[in-house]
């Protein structure tokens, strides 16, 4: 009724009649009786209005203190007798049930008492800063009943025993448990945590400590983890069903610590069933469980870190064996397939069991990087694998499958530190495929290039793309050549097909020269004339090491068409005039480089198609051997191809050559990087410069510090840089 608008003076409130002490005592007596009735659950005969009015009058007439202390005494007295009654119960279940009943009754009567004494709560309690009636009533219950020495320990013991029994698989009265945990909470958070939660957590720790130690000794890791998972789930359920939600984190932490964190090492390394074994056997379900469990642990060491390390170690070990495996090192395709399979296996594990965890992928990648680069041949082998796939391996596979394979290879490529070495080899192999017309699918070639471009940028693939461009231009040139000769590209009965290759794009060898037979030389001259007429100022240089030729040969039984390399053609044409030639004669007549000549002769005389006879017979070509035309040669096919005997793999000398070329190519790249950096920084310490250069170049290769140092020295000599006069280790950029 505060909406008083009319202004008027409130008269000082005067008490009509003073309540005397005696009247107050009588009024209290009435109230006390009523409170007793309420405690006896027998309020139906009481008039709320009357009791309220009595309390109101007492408080109004300054007997609040008498009312409040009288109330406290009455409740205390009542609860003392209740506590004694409860403690009498012999049977434990009866004891709990009785306590539960009394607690519920007490809550109810406390509400009723609070209601009739509401006026006191509103005025006296607020003014005197006392505890409100209901809260005070619960406090008394806490002190007189819950913390009664005959009740407290017995109650706690029984509750813990019930929980223990539930853990052992018994069914217990959960609603009873819920009442008591609720009771502790209602009596105050501190009561819950001190009188119940702390002992409960301590008991849980002991229980799980003992249980986990015993269980892990008797069971396999996967069984143990199953059990741990069940236990953790149970604890969460327990909290949900009858404990306070604040306990959840605490018990979870304890269970996780005792069940998992303390046993992670054991679980990981357990023989025949530990996580190591699971990874090896790709046990997805078990690993998935392990992931879930270990993920919970973050202290003291993150659980997932352990699994990750194990996985990485495992990958490294298997990978290391693989890259050092002699058998695989003999067959690049097998080698790369091994790598791909290894990666696929772990990728499957990570995707299916480890929820595609990014960090696991990172570890896997790091592991691969570490061992792939141990084997120096990795770039070459990967390129050879692609070569194999693009020559024949992909035949009959759909575009999608092919794309997947290439995608996986690019993944391996990503691990390579010496990407420029790969580029070198890839260029060589690609050149062979393009010139020999061996590539089965132009689309596949281009998609591979696109992937590499995506991976390393335009620079990396510009030369490779230039090669494709040359091929296209050559086709046009060939057409023009044909037109100029009047519709046929035959010169003196020899059909000439020319690929014009741009220097720098292709892995051309400068030293590759040989004296071509006169009829061929004539052809070449015709073409050269035609080409230079169109493109004046260019220089054409023949690359006999890269060409091939179709020959018609007459043997004693029948004619054959033979496809051979340019070198082999030169040799075979020699036998048009003579039947027998010594090795030395051939060298003089053709001037083919020794290694290439030996290989060409070997493939003609010692391989599948023995067009020539060698004297003496044997697998290898010696300087003293002599060769003769094998007129008795027979073959079922009309056309056949004499494959050049070349281990697809490089020989040691070639390898060193490639290596040397790679190193030469690196020099300008390193120098360019140094100059770029110094130009922007002007001054730099030696170590900082080295690390900056390394970071800039890692996309292509990892330069050796010594190598960089040499480049710096060279740049100083050429006066791009100078050493600081005062600090020997500091460089300055000279504009």
């Amino acid at each position: 009724m505060a909406n008083q608008r009319t202004r008027f003076v409130i008269q000082p409130f005067r008490q009509n009649h003073q309540m005397d002490e005696e009247y107050a005592t009588t009024t209290w007596q009435t109230l006390r009786e009523a409170i007793h009735e309420i405690h006896r659950q027998n309020a139906s005969g009481l008039s709320f209005e009357e009791l309220y009015r009595n309390a109101y009058n007492m408080v109004l007439h300054k007997y609040g203190e008498k009312l409040y202390s009288g109330l406290v005494d009455t409740i205390t007295e009542h609860l003392r007798s209740i506590a004694a009654e409860i403690a009498e119960a012999n049977d434990d279940i009866l004891f709990l049930k009785e306590l539960k009943k009394k607690w519920e009754e007490h809550k109810l009567s406390s509400i009723m008492i609070r209601d009739i004494l509401m006026y006191m709560d509103r005025t006296y309690v607020v003014q005197q800063k006392k505890t409100p009636v209901y809260d005070r009533s619960l406090q008394i219950f806490r002190d007189e009943v819950c913390r009664n020495p005959r009740i407290k320990d017995r109650l706690l013991g029984l509750l813990l025993e019930l929980i223990q029994r539930e853990r052992m698989g018994e069914m217990i009265d959960r609603s009873l448990m819920k009442t008591f945990s609720g009771m502790f909470v209602e009596l105050g958070r501190d009561v819950y945590s001190r009188d119940f939660e702390a002992p409960f957590l301590a008991a849980s720790t002991t229980f799980y400590q003992a249980e986990s130690q015993e269980y892990i000794l008797q069971n396999s890791a996967s069984d143990y983890m199953k059990h741990a998972e069940v236990r953790l789930h149970e604890e969460a359920e327990r909290v949900r069903h009858y404990l306070d939600s604040t306990t959840e984190l605490k018990i979870k932490e304890i269970a996780e610590r005792e069940l998992i964190a303390k046993h992670m090492k054991t679980l990981a390394e357990m023989e025949n069933s530990g996580i190591v074994t699971m990874i090896e056997d790709s046990k997805i379900a078990e690993l998935s469980r392990a992931y879930g469990l270990f993920k919970r642990v973050t202290q003291p060491t993150p659980g997932l870190g352990i699994i990750r390390e194990l996985m990485a170690a495992n990958v490294k070990r298997v990978g290391m064996e693989l890259v050092k495996d002699e058998e695989r090192n003999r067959d690049p395709v097998l080698y790369v397939q091994g790598l791909l399979q290894l990666r696929a296996k772990y990728e499957k594990v990570i995707t299916n069991a480890f929820l595609s965890d990014k960090q696991f992928y990172n570890s896997l990648n790091q592991a691969f990087e570490s061992f792939i680069n141990v084997n120096q041949h990795s770039p070459e082998y990967i390129s050879l694998f692609v070569d194999d796939q693009l020559r024949k391996g992909l035949k009959g596979t759909s575009e999608e499958e092919m794309d997947n394979i290439l995608e996986e290879v690019v993944m391996l490529f990503r691990y390579l530190q010496e990407k420029d070495v790969f580029e070198k080899y890839y260029k060589q192999h690609l050149a062979k495929r393009l010139l020999g017309g061996r590539s089965i699918s132009d689309d596949a070639e281009r998609s591979m290039i696109a992937k590499l471009k995506h991976e390393c940028g335009y620079q990396f693939t510009s030369k490779l793309e230039g090669m494709f461009n040359d091929m296209k231009l050559s086709a046009d040139t060939q057409e023009g050549f044909k037109q100029s000769l009047g519709g046929s590209s035959k010169v003196g009965g020899i059909e000439l097909m020319v690929h014009v290759l741009t220097t720098g794009f292709w892995p051309t060898q400068l030293g590759a020269k040989c004296s071509l037979p006169p009829e061929i030389t004539r052809c070449c001259d015709v073409f050269k004339e035609h080409y230079l007429r169109q493109h004046s100022g260019r220089r054409l240089q023949w690359q006999p090491n890269m060409g091939n030729a179709d020959l018609k040969a007459k043997f004693s039984t029948r004619k054959h068409e033979i496809n051979v390399s340019t070198y082999q053609m030169c040799i075979l044409l020699l036998f048009n005039t003579t039947d027998t030639m010594s090795y030395e004669d051939i060298v003089n007549a053709t001037s083919i480089p020794v290694a290439d000549l030996k290989r060409a002769l070997q493939s003609l005389a010692c391989a599948k198609f023995k067009v020539l006879n060698k004297e003496p017979k044997g697998r290898d070509v010696d300087d003293t051997d002599s060769f003769s035309f094998n007129a008795d040669f027979t073959c079922k096919q009309l056309r056949f191809k004499v494959a050049t005997v070349s281990a697809q793999k490089e020989t040691e000398t070639e390898k060193q050559e490639t290596r040397h070329k790679v190193d030469e190519d690196r020099k300008p790249q390193i120098e360019a990087a140094i100059v770029r950096i110094m130009k922007s920084r002007k001054e730099m310490e030696h170590n900082a410069l080295i690390s900056e250069v390394t970071t800039q170049l890692t996309a292509r290769f990892v330069p050796h510090p010594n190598f960089i140092k040499k480049r710096i020295e060279s740049l100083i000599e050429r006066e791009f840089l100078e050493r600081d006069a005062s600090n020997w280790r500091k460089y300055k950029y000279l504009a």
Partner: protein, 125 residues
């Protein structure tokens, strides 16, 4: 019932109307010191914290006071006029709770003010 008093009659009509309107068959009877009675909607009576406490409590066990069982409350120290004004206020409050804008005036005669103040204190309104 004080049928002669027009305002009280109005109050009762109001009570019955609102009870019907809310489809609430839950009237409460308030009795003044001279035994005159006012019947009103339970929700209106609940505006008073004291009456609310009297009437709440779980049904069908020993936790109900007589008032709650019988649905009537006797105020031995409150006269009919004051009680009537109080009930009027209950409806006034009920109608204008959550009201936006200026409120209509609730008229109180100066001579009744003291009695009403005491009643308000008593009823926790």
């Amino acid at each position: 019932m004080l049928a002669a008093d027009p305002t009280l009659k109005q109050t009762v009509v109001q009570a019955q109307a609102s009870a019907r309107a809310r489809n609430s068959m839950d009237p409460i009877k308030l009795i003044a010191s001279d035994d005159s009675e006012i019947i009103l909607d339970r929700r209106a009576a609940m505006v008073s914290g004291t009456i609310k406490n009297m009437l709440s409590g779980a049904p069908c066990d020993g936790s109900q006071f007589t008032e709650s069982q019988q649905g009537e409350v006797k105020f031995k120290e409150m006269n009919a006029a004051t009680l009537e004004k109080v009930v009027q206020y209950f409806y006034y409050k009920l109608r204008h709770t959550n009201h936006v804008g200026p409120l209509p005036e609730f008229k109180i005669e100066p001579e009744a003010a003291l009695e009403l103040l005491m009643a308000a204190n008593y009823l926790d309104t």
